[in-house]
């Protein structure tokens, strides 16, 4: 191999600007797309909405088969898998030890965390668009086969709530990822912790009422359905503060202080 000399100007280089938030977000998205495992995860999200729509088209009653219902149906699997994407957006950097490079290039770790949140939200929006497309195709099939009412209605409230649901899901995943900085831990605890806490506290009648305000699963579930009532919005706010904002704050602290070996 011949030695290639490397000869850039070493002196008088202009002062470079720091990478903007848009760049960092695109980089975080690219990091999810450019590996085989990331591609599979994203493909899975797409395939799940295809599967959900297919099931929706096949089962259910004739009046159930509308564009809106098919769309809401796709949210169930999406809201389950998006948090995993959120977790992996963070923890892969630790399992693969790329955080060393990431934080050397961008020493302001909260900026990296913010870029990851924005990337997660962008993926949520993309998954929502996929769901909309698949539901539209599904409904077109329903209409063509004359198997449903063929309604194309999609109220803004439902779309807004769906957007909120997927966003909250992915951000909660990112928060858990930052708290644990370990893929299996974060994934297991993400799914198990809210269930266990609800189950345990559910035994006691006295606090069952209170739990409605603190159970993140029961608080977010109505988002994929009818318009939320005032009290349901209250449940969502308090449960999100406990399960999303608090872990996000703790995670940011952990991420900022974590020593990279």
């Amino acid at each position: 191999m011949t030695a290639v000399t490397y000869a850039p100007p070493l002196v008088g280089a202009k002062e470079p600007t720091r990478p903007g938030m848009a760049t960092l977000t695109l980089v975080e998205m690219r990091k999810m797309i450019d590996t085989r495992s990331g591609k599979w995860l994203l493909a899975t999200i797409g395939l799940l909405s295809v599967a959900a729509v297919t099931i929706g088209v096949i089962v259910g009653t004739r009046t159930d088969r509308t564009f809106l219902n098919l769309f809401l149906f796709t949210l169930l699997p999406t809201a389950v898998i998006l948090p995993v994407l959120g977790i992996l957006l963070v923890t892969t950097e630790w399992s693969q030890r790329t955080a060393l490079t990431t934080f050397t290039q961008v020493p302001q770790r909260p900026r990296v965390a913010a870029a990851k949140v924005l990337a997660g939200v962008a993926f949520s929006v993309l998954s929502l668009l996929t769901s909309l497309l698949m539901s539209a195709i599904g409904n077109a099939v329903v209409v063509a086969l004359d198997r449903g009412s063929g309604g194309w209605r999609l109220p803004a409230t439902d779309l807004g709530q769906a957007l909120l649901l997927v966003t909250l899901s992915v951000v909660m995943g990112i928060a858990f990822g930052m708290v644990f900085l370990n893929s299996p831990f974060a994934i297991v605890l993400y799914f198990v912790a809210p269930i266990v806490i609800s189950a345990v506290t559910g035994i006691f009648d006295a606090i069952r009422e209170t739990m409605l305000w603190l159970d993140v699963n029961s608080a977010t579930a109505p988002l994929a359905g009818e318009s939320l009532t005032g009290e349901q919005w209250g449940h969502l706010a308090t449960a999100s503060a406990l399960w999303i904002l608090l872990p996000l704050a703790l995670g940011l602290l952990r991420l900022s202080r974590s020593e990279l070996k």
Binding site: M1, A3, V4, T5, Y6, A7, P8, P9, L10, V11, A13, E15, P16, T17, R18, P19, T23, L24, L26, V27, R30, K31, D34, T35, R36, S37, G38, T92, Q96, R97, T98, L100, T101, F103, T104, Q105, V106, P107, Q108, E259, L260
Partner: protein, 328 residues
């Protein structure tokens, strides 16, 4: 330029780095040496803003690393070549870096060529790379932003002799054009071949800091005679302070002419008489870092064939600060 000023890093009660100060000037290659666990990597992490110092400060080109707006454009960092996502291709790793640093995409191809990763290698996933290839990739990543400073932790690890020769040329060239290089290594011969400036750390403290020539300069005169016993007697009678080596030669702290006279007076046939060339980096290293933590670090540092010095080298250079203390 890199400045480390009174940097101390404690983890609970353990002091990993203790009041470390040194400077790396533009145009030089600084070799950063020390046994495993001596605080090398911790110091490099403090310099690159990954670990906050408990006290003291480190700066690169006069600025705290973390305050550099786009650090990759000033400082090329390679702390661990194996810390890469195994599922990414080499080209993609560099593509990501180019995007963060805001340099043109064409740099990726240029640097792949500079570090000698061909098209086939660039398309492969890093998980299939050898350590040597990862070092080349990491170096390409470090050079991506056209930095003026390079901070490299064990960059020669895993490189074959041809690769080591290549890297030596690349770093030498970088420094000759005004760049600053700080590299740690336990490959002493490698450091000896490339560094102009040496910083030796042991037990978290600086054991030596100075120009390589100064630190490695031999002291005294090496003399060897047909009969070692007679020579020893002659040196003793003339009161010349001499140290006998296992091979029968002596290192005498005196001028060659005095040693020659002593031998002539006793009628001894000399087979060798010259200025001692110093024990080299290995001896300096072992002398300065003796008493370092017994965590098996020594074994990793010392090649199996390395001769242990019979005596601690004479500590005459003023630059060998703290040497006696560390060697105690």
């Amino acid at each position: 330029m890199i400045s480390v000023e009174h940097v101390t890093k404690r983890y609970g009660k353990h002091t990993a780095v203790d009041d470390v100060s040194f400077h790396c000037e533009p145009g030089t290659v600084t070799g950063f040496l020390g046994p495993n666990g001596a605080g090398k990597s911790t110091t490099l992490r403090v310099v690159t803003g990954l670990t906050p110092a408990t006290s003291g400060r480190a700066s690169v080109n006069g600025t705290d690393y973390r305050k550099l707006p786009n650090p990759g454009r000033h400082v090329g960092v390679l702390l661990d070549a194996s810390a890469q996502h195994g599922g990414r291709t080499g080209r993609e790793v560099l593509g990501l870096t180019a995007q963060v640093l805001g340099v043109p995409r064409t740099r990726v191809g240029e640097l792949l060529e500079v570090v000698g990763l061909n098209r086939t290698a660039a398309k492969r996933r890093v998980g299939n790379y050898s350590l040597g290839m990862r070092q080349r990739l990491g170096l390409a990543q470090a050079l991506m932003g056209d930095p003026t400073v390079l901070v490299l932790d064990e960059p020669a690890n895993g490189l074959d002799p041809e690769g080591i020769y290549w890297m030596r040329g690349l770093l030498r060239d970088f420094a000759d054009r005004g760049g600053t290089v700080l590299l740690s290594s336990h490959l002493l011969r490698e450091i000896e071949a490339i560094a102009d400036h040496l910083v030796v750390i042991g037990n978290g403290r600086i054991a030596a800091d100075g120009a390589k020539e100064e630190l490695l300069a031999g002291t005294g005169v090496l003399v060897r005679g047909l009969d070692a016993g007679l020579l020893a007697g002659a040196l003793e009678r003339t009161g010349l302070p001499a140290t006998r080596h296992a091979d029968g030669s002596f290192v005498v702290d005196a001028e060659p002419v005095a040693v020659g006279r002593a031998a002539a007076a006793a009628g001894i046939v000399l087979t060798e008489l010259r200025r001692a060339d110093g024990g080299g980096l290995e001896e300096l290293f072992l002398t300065l870092t003796r008493g370092a933590p017994a965590d098996g670090g020594d074994a990793g540092v010392l090649p199996p064939h390395a001769p242990r010095p019979t005596e601690p080298a004479q500590q005459t250079q003023p630059t060998r600060q703290d040497a006696a203390e560390v060697a105690r």
